[in-house]
């Protein structure tokens, strides 16, 4: 048992920068910095974890952390404008204050993934925590701990791709095999066209000694899993991250369970093997 405290107290953070990611302006990335040094030092996270962001007067909602822990001094969250809280967040400007609770939930299984090749498969807005993972693996001190890194990332259109400058940098690197695909191209697009599952099928990475990490919209996930199965990825080495409505984030408020597991407490990261032991209610 931990010491008794109020687990609901958020720490204040300042909005440093707001980046509009997509051409429809529905996704923005927020660079946040801690106001208090002690909060910054206490916030130790790993790729895959999430945090509860507060807009005071509106409430709280959970968001995957898009920055990598190797980036010091700020946290990044990419937020899709969808509900009440995300609308309020989208109106925030540099200098505004938000609250944060976290880090919460499980990270990608980095220890198990060490020494293995990594196949990162992402689609749409769910690419955020994968971006955290990719930047974590690419960090000089970490790169040697992992084998080959292959990334397949897709969006509906070129204008809906996130982190466009960063993607350009990844394309230039030799320690990363990077495949970008769009469902529908526009005039300037010279890259791959087609949905993510087809791209994975084309790239056909070897399953031996490889972890597949999959985050995307439900349809992408549904059609990618059979491709991975055909490529002989065992369910123990297919890793997914789930979304669920959450309030407390610490396994008490009772709403984000799948079977006896709470997505906030036992997830959001699960292996496919773990998920297959749970009821299909998500």
């Amino acid at each position: 048992m931990m010491t008794a405290e109020n687990p609901y107290l958020p720490s204040p953070m300042r909005v440093e920068k707001v980046t509009v990611e997509t051409e429809d302006r529905s996704i923005k990335t927020f660079d946040l910095s801690f106001i208090r040094t002690e909060d910054e030092q206490a916030f130790r996270y790993l790729p895959g974890q999430f945090a509860q962001l507060s807009v005071f007067g509106k409430g709280e909602a959970p968001f995957g952390i898009a920055s990598s822990p190797t980036t010091s001094g700020l946290l990044q969250f990419s937020v899709s404008r969808i509900g009440l809280l995300t609308r309020a967040l989208h109106q925030m400007e540099p200098g505004d204050l938000v609250g944060i609770r976290g880090p919460l939930g499980s990270s990608f299984p980095l220890q198990d993934m060490e020494g293995k090749d990594l196949l990162v498969i992402g689609g749409g807005f769910a690419f955020t925590t994968l971006r955290s993972l990719i930047n974590y693996v690419l960090e000089k001190d970490n790169r040697g701990r992992f084998g080959k890194l292959t990334v397949v990332y897709g969006a509906r259109t070129p204008g809906m791709l996130l982190y466009k400058d960063e993607l350009e940098g990844w394309r230039q690197r030799s320690d990363l095999e990077f495949h970008v695909t769009v469902d529908a191209a526009d005039n300037g697009w010279k890259g791959r066209v087609g949905v993510v599952p087809n791209a994975v099928s084309d790239v056909a990475p070897a399953a031996d000694n490889t972890y597949a990490i999959v985050c995307g919209p439900p349809a992408m996930t549904r059609y990618t899993l059979p491709v991975l199965e055909k490529l002989h990825f065992p369910p123990e080495r297919v890793v997914l991250s789930l979304e669920m409505k959450m309030k407390c984030g610490i396994g008490m408020c009772g709403r984000c369970n799948i079977g006896s597991r709470y997505v906030c407490r036992d997830g959001p990261v699960f292996t496919l093997a773990e998920l297959r032991r749970l009821p299909p209610e998500y």
Partner: protein
């Protein structure tokens, strides 16, 4: 542990002693609704009741609770936490089913990696005096779910009505400390212990219709897609009364009240029987109809709780049976699950 025999009219002596320097919470009759309230005089206390209409869990897990107040001024954020509960308190006259529910709520709020400090402070400030259940209601089923009408789980002291007198037994050190200053009465003798055993046997005999919760759990583990769920919820109007009256239901919402500049963040009871409970901002809902919500309620108490904690998440108080507006009886539902299990065999 100390056990004292008090003549019937001496219970007021005990209550008066408990009131000395402490806040006393006891069952009162508020226009036909029996509820636990702070009492200032002994006349308010009701002792001849089957069980309270609403469970006493709100004393530890309030229906509405301020988590903090906030104030924003430029770059300054001021957060004011509520003052932790202080002062010794006694909760008197809790039935054993409800006392046991506190031990289940403890697992949720203080038993994991995170601990709700406000809940824990309230629990520690209270000494719980249980009142053995000598006249179970027709809707009671505590013995089916690991409890009993004389169970001491969750109580620091257990009081038993023996007809002509009360047997007052310390269960924990905290309870023994409470009884230390008590004058009057006499030490319990063999005769009173024998009469207590008789009362217990009579109460247990009155609780019929045993349910095998182990069988239920095993069956629930394999009936996710069973057509059983298609019909079960049809009568349910989704009012949530079952969950609000349940002593073990612990689900809550967190909402902000106020402006962007100042206000408070509030923890407030919620219910898995409401459609908005799991509704994503995107419109997706993993439990879109009453079917999924009833399955969740039953699975949570009789499958997930045992899987997670080794105990069912129900204490058999029967309130959800008594007060369901459409007479959905959870005991019948459990018997139906048992019957399905037998059919397969």
């Amino acid at each position: 542990m100390r056990a004292v025999l008090l003549a019937k009219d001496q219970i007021s002596v005990l209550l008066a002693a408990l009131l000395q320097g402490r806040k006393l919470f006891a069952p009162v009759d508020d226009g036909g609704v029996i509820a636990f309230r702070q009492v200032d005089s002994l006349q308010e206390v009701v002792l001849d009741y089957h069980n309270s209409t609403v469970p006493p869990k709100r004393l530890f897990f309030p229906q509405t609770e301020t988590l903090f107040r906030y104030g924003l001024e430029g770059e300054q954020l001021a957060l004011a936490e509520p003052q932790p509960a202080s002062g010794e308190k006694v909760l008197f006259g809790v039935r054993p089913c409800d006392a046991r529910s506190f031990t289940l709520l403890d697992r949720v709020f203080t038993g994991g990696n995170h601990c709700d400090g406000c809940y824990q402070a309230r629990r520690e400030n209270f000494t719980v005096v249980g009142l053995a259940c000598t006249r179970p209601r027709a809707e009671c089923f505590c013995t089916s779910v690991g409890g009993g009408p004389f169970s001491t789980a969750g109580s620091d002291v257990l009081v038993t009505d023996l007809g002509t007198d009360y047997l007052v037994e310390a269960v924990t050190d905290k309870g023994a400390a409470l009884l230390e200053g008590l004058s009057g009465g006499r030490e319990a003798d063999e005769d009173s212990i024998r009469r207590r055993a008789e009362a217990q046997a009579a109460a247990e005999a009155a609780l019929r219709g045993e349910i095998n919760t182990e069988d239920v759990k095993l069956k629930l583990q394999e009936m996710w897609d069973d057509p059983f769920w298609d019909r079960l919820h049809e009568k349910c109007i989704g009012c949530g009364a079952c969950t609000y009256l349940c002593p073990t239901c612990h689900c809550f919402d967190i909402v902000d009240e106020g402006s962007e500049q100042r206000g408070r963040r509030v923890k407030i009871w919620d219910s898995c029987m409401f459609p908005s409970f799991t509704l994503h901002a995107s419109g997706h809902n993993p439990r879109p109809t009453g079917k999924e919500r009833w399955r969740q309620r039953l699975m949570h108490k009789f499958r997930y709780w045992p899987e997670d904690h080794g105990e069912v998440g129900c204490v058999g108080c029967g309130r959800c049976v008594v007060d369901c507006p459409v007479n959905l009886d959870i005991r019948q539902v459990l018997h139906d699950v048992e019957a399905l299990a037998k059919k397969v065999e």
